[in-house]
Every structure is written in C-alpha cells, then in structure tokens.
C-alpha cells in the first residue's frame, strides 16, 4: 500500500465525536470566560475513552488519540491533557485506571511551580527523562497564570521512582503537538474570518498582503506540524514508543513554534480587539502560549529531535 495521510473512518469518527462533545459541553463562551474546567467535565471527557488509550482497558491506538487531541485543540479544551496521557503511560494498576477514567487529576512537572497543582490528586515529578510519583507536602500555594490555568507552588516528596520517562514523553509530545497545532489552526481560521469581515481603507484587511501572507505562512507551518504529529502517532502504533521518541519531539518542536508564531500573527490581524480579555483571540492565544511552555521537556524537544541524527540523517 502506498502512503495515506488521512485519518481512516474510525479515527475520523473519534475526531467528530470529540468535536461534538466539546461543542456541547465546553462551548466557546465558557472558554472565553475562563470558566470551562471542572472535574465533571474532565470525567465526561474520560468517558469518551480518550485518556485510556494505552491501558489494558483502552480502545484504539495513538492515531485515535491524536484525532481526539486535534478536536480538543480546536476547541482549546482545558485540563492537564498531555500530562494525563504521559502519566497514564508511566503508571499501572488502579492508579493508572483512575487517571484514565478521569477520577483522579494529575499534575506533572518540576517543582515548585506545577500545573493544576491546587486541584491535583497525584503528582508526577519529571524533567522528561526520569519520573517519580510524588505527593505534596504542606500547602499548595495557588498561582494564576497567563493561560488561566490553576497552577500552584508545591513542595513534593518523591514516593516511588517511575523509571525512564522518555517513552511516555513520546506520547505526551505527540498529543501535545496534535492539540497545539489544532489550536493554532483554529486561531488562524478565526483571524482569517476577521480579515475577511473587517474593513479598513474601504476594503477587507485580508486584501492587504501584509495580512494575508503571514496568515498563509502560519497555516502552512501548522499543517506541516499537524502532519508531523500524525506521523508520530502512527509511529507509536506501528513501531512502538521507543521508535516514536524522535518523531514525537520533532512534532512537538514544530507544533509549539508554529502555534506561537500563529498566535502572534493572529493578534496582529485582530488589532486592538485581540488584546481584550473576552475578545476573539486571547482565549485561544493564552492557551497556546501556556501549552507551548508546558513541562516536562519543553526545552529538550529540539535536542531529542536531533537524537540519532549522526547515524540516520534526516532522510531516514
């Protein structure tokens, strides 16, 4: 069989199911107000099976998961999404099952500043190479963030070593890439819509090439990042996690950079409107910026992308 870069029917069905779940349960108005996340919403998402992929009970593979994450990204769905799929791959038994079912909430990163710490039931300390299951000692000091996510300062006590985290990071990076590339495509689509409608100097601002070309550039970079994420997911399904480390890192690196650039360009297109808190852009761009800097491993993605380069070269 020759190459086929489209989702198959089953994967497409997952994407659509998740998209309609998002539209119904997590509509834009709620995202704009920054009030979208709740434990109930998280459990309902888990009921779709999105977080359980890779567990004994899970159905489908990484491509199904990537299809779901694209839909989640387009809806800028809140919550520790990539962190959860990361921890799900590191844990087993009841701990894994509770995470996959959305019953427990995980916080992953390097202390003291940790995402979703005030809400988390469990902590995984990880720099993207090693990982430990940990618990919070003392109080969690809430920290509000640019992205509107509830973060916190915590002291962690390591309870158990979880070993090499790099295979799990491949899934994390792949899904983060799928989410953030889709969020980027979303903000570019919104900006393009604005550029079609907004008139200045007697024409739609999209007629100015200074507006049109950067948006087109962003769309291309995002389309390629999304395709890289799909390839990484395919690699997980076909060749396993270890083989997907590098494709995952490549996808993450490309997607975070493309999405950040897209957010910037979208803001230029929206003008002052983009800077308003409840306007058409900030509720998406803030999440892109936050996801782009998400621990673990953000700063390592470029280096992992180079792993094995001397042996295989880029053409491999």
């Amino acid at each position: 069989m020759s190459l086929d870069l489209d989702f198959d029917d089953a994967q497409q069905a997952v994407a659509e199911a998740v998209a309609s779940f998002c539209a119904e349960r997590c509509p834009d108005e709620q995202i704009r107000k920054g009030e979208a996340f709740s434990r109930d919403l998280w459990r309902e998402l888990a009921e779709l099976g999105v977080l359980a992929i890779g567990t004994p009970e899970g159905e489908g593979g990484a491509l199904e998961q990537a299809a779901a994450f694209e839909s989640l990204g387009r809806a800028v769905f809140p919550g520790p999404l990539a962190a959860t799929v990361f921890a799900v791959r590191l844990l087993d038994g009841p701990e894994q099952a509770r995470l996959a079912a959305g019953e427990a909430l995980i916080s992953v990163g390097e202390p003291p500043l940790l995402p979703f710490a005030p809400l988390a039931d469990r902590f995984v300390e990880s720099d993207g190479e090693s990982a430990w299951l940990a618990r919070a000692e003392g109080e969690v000091l809430p920290v509000s963030t640019l992205g509107g996510e509830p973060w916190g300062r915590v002291r962690l006590v390591r309870e158990r070593e979880l070993g090499d985290a790099r295979d799990a990071l491949a899934v994390h990076d792949t899904m983060l890439a799928a989410w953030i590339a889709a969020a980027g495509e979303r903000i570019v689509a919104d900006a393009a819509e604005h550029a079609r409608a907004r008139k200045q100097f007697g024409k739609a601002i999209g007629e100015f090439q200074a507006v049109a070309h950067p948006l087109a550039d962003a769309a291309m970079a995002l389309a390629s990042a999304r395709t890289l994420a799909r390839r990484a997911a395919w690699t997980i399904d076909r060749a396993g996690l270890r083989a997907a480390r590098r494709p995952g890192a490549v996808a993450r690196h490309a997607a975070t950079r493309a999405a950040r650039a897209a957010a910037h360009i979208a803001h230029q297109t929206f003008g002052a409107l983009g800077i308003t808190l409840e306007g058409p852009a900030f509720h998406v761009s803030r999440r892109i910026l936050q996801a782009a800097a998400q621990p673990p491993g953000e700063t390592r993605a470029a280096e992992v992308a180079l792993e094995g380069y001397a042996l295989e070269g880029c053409a491999a």
Partner: protein, 381 residues
C-alpha cells in the same frame, strides 16, 4: 559625528536615576503590576508628577514662556528613557507633556493656554486620547463621531474605543467630524472635551494589559462649548498631524526592553542556563535588536534637533522597537518556560505588553507600508 553622551548628559541621567531610586516606593514593582490604568498607579502618577514639576523636570522640554526650560530633545529623551525604563511612573501624563501640551501651545487660544497648560506643567491633570472608533482604527480618518454646531455648543454624538485611561481622565483630546458632508481628512475638528459633561459614558473593556486600561466612550447629545475647539474648525487633521510630530519617538520601549534583557541575562545565569547555546543565541539576537532600535530612535531625535521634518525613519524606529520588545518577551518565555507564565510575574507582564506593541500607535504592517512608500518610493497597494 558623535555617538557618546556629554558629561552633562551622563550626569543628568544619573541624577534622574537617583531621584527615581529615592522617590519610587519600595513596593513599586508590586504597585505597578496593575498597569498604568490601575487605580493605584493613576493615583501615584498625580503625586509623582507634582514632584517632577517641583524639580522643573515634568515639562522641561517646553519653551520657557510656558513654564518649561527649553531642554534639548536629547535631555528629554534621557528623561523619557528613565521614566519608561522604570515602568512609566508618570502613568498617563506622558501624553500631556509630550504632545497634548505642545498642540495647545501652537493652536490654543489665550484662554485655552491659561486653562490647560499650567495644570499640565504642574502635573495635576489627566488626559485621554479619543481618536479610534469601532470602524476607524488604522484608517483613522474614517471616523464618524459627529459634532453639530448648535448655538454656542457642539452637540456631540458617537463613540470612541480603545481609549486608554478614560476612566481617570479629566479631559479628552477628541477627534470629531464637524462637517457632516465631509470625507476623510477634511471636516474634522479637535475638541478639548471635559470628561465630566453630561451624556458621556465610559465603559471599561477588560484587556490583557491591566486594570482599567482600555475603554469605550459613548457620547450622547453631549454639549461641548464651542470654545473647547482647538484650532480651526474642520481643519483638525492638521492639528493632529502637528501634535503627532511630537509623538515621533513615542515611549522608550527599546530602553525598557534593553533593561529587561540585562535582567534576563542575570536570571539566566542564576538558573544555570546562560551557557546553553539556545539561550546565548537568543540573548545575543535580542541585544542586537535592542541596540538597533535605540540607534534608529536616536536618529529620529537627531533629525528633530536639526529641524528636519518627520520622515519614514520614525516608522522604522517604531518597527525596530516592536521587534526588540517582541524578541525579549519571547526569550523570557523561552528561558523561563513555565515560570514565565505566572500571572503578574516579571516575564508575564513583559509578554502582555509586547503583545500590544505591534498594534498600539499604528500597526506594524501600516508602518511598513509607510517605510516602503516613503523610504523606498514603492507604489501603494
């Protein structure tokens, strides 16, 4: 040619720095978190500007006959750099000093000068700028807010948007269409409009750059006395063009960016990431951009000193400052990763302001158009 500051200028900068160190409260960083529109900073600006006035610094660039001391544009630039570098403790009042006052000097009646210039030079009045409208952003001359003559007043109807600091302002420098049959640049007038007139409603638009910054201002049958008009009727565009010449340089964003970059380098060292190639490259690149922006700005000041008319170099300087600020903000996120995202943190605040840099006072794309047409002689799109 001379790229170095004189001993006198260096001493002046040190004096301003010493003054700031003594005058800014210890919790200034915290106090200024809410941004220049915040209650705390607006209140502070009145107190602070009064102190500047006492020292003769607030309006030193003004001519002596209006209470200034004819300070050179270089001295004014040093002053502006130190102010913006320290988070602009003058709050909204930099606008008064930089261009609203000078516009009144040039076009104002004797009564207007008497009424408005002393409060500005004493640092006890806040102004806002009512230019942009929902349908008139980059294309400012599409403005529609109407001022119809009725007896001894203009009856003003319409709305302004993105008006910074409108909630605190005592006056608004307001652009209106006074000739209903006019189009584009003709038929516009400038009103020095008191903000407490009946029929004016100010609504905050929550924004990323802090509390009470952006506003929408609605005018419903507001009766603005005819003698509030600045300059000739229907020829307000010339008044604006004149005033904005003084705004050529704008806020010393490049200076703040450079200071932040120094801080960023120190923090990168403290975190042990200074040696990382990606950090070093980012710091080097941002530094080059900051220095370029500074020199392009100095070129504009130099032109003013030599009395040359404004040119596209102004636009180039602004674009360069926006690029520098953006590079520094991106780097902050790059170096600090997740920590940069803490609300109100040092990096977060930088990032939010950088978001606005390419839009405020003329979008970068529009500035580039001007560079292309004026500097390179390219045809317009």
């Amino acid at each position: 040619m001379e790229f170095g500051w004189s001993a006198e200028e260096l001493a002046y900068r040190e004096e301003v720095q010493r003054f700031l160190a003594e005058t800014l409260p210890e919790d200034w960083e915290e106090l200024s978190k809410g941004g220049p529109g915040s209650e705390a900073q607006a209140a502070f600006s009145r107190e602070f500007c009064a102190k500047l006035a006492e020292r003769g610094w607030l309006t030193q660039s003004w001519p002596a006959e209006y209470g200034g001391s004819d300070a050179s544009p270089w001295r004014h630039a040093i002053f502006g750099e130190e102010m913006w570098g320290h988070g602009e403790p003058r709050g909204p009042q930099y606008m008064n000093v930089n261009w609203i006052g000078p516009a009144i000097m040039k076009y104002g009646t004797e009564d207007q000068k008497r009424a408005h210039l002393p409060p500005i030079s004493e640092g006890r009045v806040l102004w806002c700028q009512g230019f942009s409208e929902p349908e008139a952003g980059s294309d400012l001359v599409a403005l529609r807010t109407a001022a119809r003559r009725e007896g001894d007043v203009y009856l003003v109807n319409g709305s302004k948007i993105w008006t910074s600091y409108a909630n605190h302002a005592d006056f608004c420098i307001l652009l209106v269409r006074s000739d209903p049959d006019s189009k584009r640049h003709r038929g516009i007038s400038v009103l020095l409009c008191p903000m407490d007139l009946p029929g004016i409603e100010v609504r905050e638009i929550p924004s990323v750059v802090g509390e009470r910054y952006f506003h929408e201002v609605f005018f419903e049958d507001v009766r603005v006395p005819l003698d509030c008009r600045l300059g000739p009727e229907h020829e307000g565009w010339d008044v604006v063009a004149y005033a904005l010449q003084f705004e050529r340089v704008g806020a010393a964003r490049y200076h703040r960016a450079a200071l932040i970059l120094d801080d960023l380098a120190a923090r990168a060292k403290a975190r042990g990431v200074f040696a990382e190639p990606r950090v070093r490259e980012g710091l080097g690149r941002a530094r080059a951009l900051c220095e370029a922006a500074r020199l392009l700005t100095y070129r504009v000041i130099d032109q003013r000193v030599h009395g040359s008319p404004p040119s596209a170099d102004t636009n180039a300087a602004r674009i360069a400052a926006t690029d520098a600020e953006g590079a520094v903000a991106d780097l902050a996120v790059e170096v600090f990763g997740a920590d940069a995202l803490e609300y109100g943190s040092w990096a977060d605040t930088r990032f939010r302001w950088a978001m606005t840099a390419g839009v405020a006072v003329g979008a970068t794309e529009v500035q580039l158009n001007l560079v292309a047409s004026r500097l390179l002689g390219l045809p317009r799109e």
